[in-house]
């Protein structure tokens, strides 16, 4: 695969102190995440709160410094860049935040907000800047006369358009979208989702789309990584993931998503309990205490990534296949369906 971004073994641990004067502990927020994004591709990281998806997105941009791992952007090692190198690289990597209220400076007009990246990274005359701002406002569906207004004069959806415009001002190659539509109402969310899809195609952007919403992820992305407790447990092209989820966590998650169709009566896989604390992740497979299909081996051995079919990676003892990275190209197994209980017992 042609790669724009490659992340290898990304780790972010936080030191916390438990209780007053308690002993130090480590929060394993991100614990060995690897993925790659091709040019023009939308790759989504999906998972429940605390799984480390946003931390991963921030660490890729070095908005927080990862504890370990490697990040390659267009062949350059992002983690080795000095501040000036990082500053220059940031013009190619931008971010759209979740909160359209908190992520815009309330004291700056829209024009000032959108000019800021140009002032930092390009030498343009005031007239040229104004032209670029007007152009971008139109691209994101705002009126040119909006440029003199302040953030509080806009609705949530319009503010998110401003946030998207700001991220696109420098024509970046990679945009990280951290839950960019989660704070929006249904009808407005559809507008922004359509805008994101349209602009991703129009500008040929690679998009790292971070979301907890499986329905939204399905609509915008080409490939999806499902995260649980700091790890990616399954990666697949979007269609395969939703039609044939392999990892028991993915299956449970998909079965729990409510569907706007009252006639559909489904069997939900209800996971017992809550996600364990990332301070003491369970040994073996991190999902095993809640997994309806856990085997004896799951309690002891951390499952290595396996490639049960082309383009799919799953970290689960239920599946065979070669480890990714090896050049054996496995023929897609028929349906790549999980083994039946009988098969597993043998």
């Amino acid at each position: 695969m042609d790669e724009l971004l490659r992340v290898e073994g990304l780790v972010k641990h936080y030191r916390v102190r438990r209780g007053w004067g308690g002993r130090g502990a480590r929060v394993h927020a991100v614990d060995g995440v690897s993925f790659a994004i091709a040019p023009n591709e939308t790759y989504a990281l999906v998972g429940e709160s605390g799984c480390g998806k946003s931390t991963t997105g921030f660490a890729v941009l070095r908005l927080i410094e990862p504890t370990a791992g490697r990040v390659w952007f267009r062949g350059r090692n992002v983690l080795a860049l000095d501040p000036e190198g990082l500053r220059r690289m940031r013009r190619e990597m931008q971010i759209v935040f979740q909160d359209p209220f908190g992520s815009l400076n309330p004291r700056l007009t829209v024009e000032r907000t959108l000019e800021e990246p140009l002032l930092n990274h390009e030498r343009l005359s005031a007239a040229e800047r104004r032209e670029r701002v007007a152009e971008m406002l139109e691209v994101v569906g705002l009126h040119p006369e909006h440029r003199r207004r302040f953030p509080h004069e806009f609705s949530g959806g319009q503010r998110q358009r401003i946030g998207i415009a700001r991220a696109l001002m420098l024509r970046p190659r990679l945009v990280v979208g951290d839950e960019p539509v989660s704070a929006l109402d249904v009808s407005v969310r559809a507008q922004i989702l359509n805008l994101i899809v349209k602009l991703q195609r129009r500008f040929g952007i690679s998009l790292l789309f971070i979301s907890h919403d499986l329905a939204v992820v399905r609509y915008v992305s080409h490939r999806v990584g499902v995260m649980y407790l700091g790890r990616i447990v399954e990666t697949a092209p979007v269609r395969e993931l939703y039609e044939n989820p392999l990892h028991p966590y993915t299956r449970a998650l998909l079965s729990a998503v409510p569907v706007p169709d009252p006639r559909r009566r489904r069997t939900r896989i209800l996971l017992p309990g809550d996600v364990p604390s990332p301070i003491d992740p369970p040994p073996g497979c991190r999902f095993h205490p809640r997994c309806p299909e856990a085997l004896a081996v799951c309690r002891e051995e951390d499952p290595r990534p396996r490639r049960p079919a082309d383009g799919r990676i799953v970290c689960c003892h239920l599946y065979g296949g070669s480890p990714p990275g090896e050049t054996v190209s496995p023929a897609p197994e028929p349906g790549a369906s999980p083994p039946t209980p009988e098969e597993r017992r043998t």
Binding site: E48, Q158, L193, N194, A215, P258, V259, P260, R268
Partner: protein
């Protein structure tokens, strides 16, 4: 006679910017044991409506401008405040979106749950704590005897919402007002909480008015739905009928703008409802949805349509409803 009957309710807000219309002539019934959804986008007045039932709105700035709310035959808007106090947490309960802010951080879970038994059931402290532990067990909190001694911050979001549900249902109320009860929760926890609410509904026969922006949640748990837009009820129908044949262009537009995760359904492109929800201080004349409506005609901009029953049990407020 329905358990809860709201007739022509009007609620205004007096603010320095002028008078805003939050609820504009809403009529809605909830029968005993029924699960009804009240759905709409932010600012449509659904939460204000729910809060007004328990008289939890600050008056002023809120102002009851008309209508009535009858619960078990009694007019709540004109009832004595002491009678309302006796109803709250007893015959009518409410749970909210954010259980962390709804729970008091400086009291234990047990104290907060026991308070309900002490106030409404007159139990002693030790009796009430025992009742509290029993109720926690019923809503699926593991090790309830230990949990009663813990504080809200020691619980996960899902567990806190279970505690809220325990507090709300302790006195087996006739009506539970659930205002976005699962919006702050993860999807797997949301499924647990919705299941819990439904099983308690079946077990205790508590009617539920589920207030939410999430049509998918409505589809999964309710039998009847009312859709609100800018303070007005625009459509009300049995849940299956609303999703199958939405008659109001707003409902139809909303349904077509939801992406779906189920494999059998592929969303090719999402419908957009153009424009934005008008401000409560500057509502357009006629039908409030007309400026965004693809079917709007002359009359829509002039005169507000009334809610009328077009199909059995299916009411819609629209001059030009979508044909089934």
């Amino acid at each position: 006679m329905p358990l809860l009957s709201i007739r022509g309710l009007k609620i205004h807000f007096r603010t320095p910017q002028g008078t805003g219309v939050a609820v504009d002539g809403v009529s809605l019934d909830v029968a005993a044991g029924e699960v009804v959804g009240l759905v709409g986008e932010s600012g449509c007045g659904k939460s204000v409506l729910a809060l007004s039932i328990l008289r939890l709105l600050p008056v002023p700035p809120a102002l009851f401008a008309g209508g009535e709310i009858r619960f078990e035959g009694r007019d709540l808007l004109r009832a004595d405040p002491r009678d309302i106090l006796a109803l709250r947490g007893n015959r009518i309960s409410m749970i909210f979106q954010e259980p962390m802010t709804a729970l008091n951080p400086v009291f234990t879970i047990g104290d907060q749950l026991a308070e309900v038994y002490r106030v409404h059931r007159g139990q002693s402290r030790s009796q009430a704590l025992a009742s509290a532990a029993r109720m926690l067990g019923r809503v699926g909190v593991p090790a309830p005897e230990r949990r009663v001694r813990e504080y809200p911050f020691q619980l996960s979001g899902g567990m806190r919402q279970r505690v809220m549900i325990a507090i709300a249902l302790a006195c087996r109320p006739a009506l539970l007002l659930a205002d976005e009860p699962t919006t702050a929760l993860d999807v797997s926890i949301q499924a647990q909480i919705l299941d819990l609410m439904l099983s308690l509904n079946a077990e205790l026969h508590t009617a539920i008015l589920l207030i939410t922006h999430d049509l998918a949640v409505v589809a999964e748990v309710t039998r009847r739905v009312a859709v609100m837009y800018t303070g007005r009820l625009v459509e009300e129908a049995p849940t299956a009928a609303l999703f199958e044949t939405p008659l109001h262009p707003y409902t139809r537009g909303l349904l077509a703008s939801i992406p779906r995760a189920d494999a059998s359904f592929q969303t090719e492109s999402l419908n957009e409802i153009p424009g934005v929800v008008p401000s409560a201080f500057a509502l357009p004349p006629g039908c409030h949805f007309a400026p965004r409506c693809p079917r709007a005609a002359e009359i829509c901009r002039r005169e507000a349509p009334r809610l009328e029953e077009l199909l059995p049990g299916h009411r819609v407020a629209c001059w030009r409803p979508v044909d089934g």
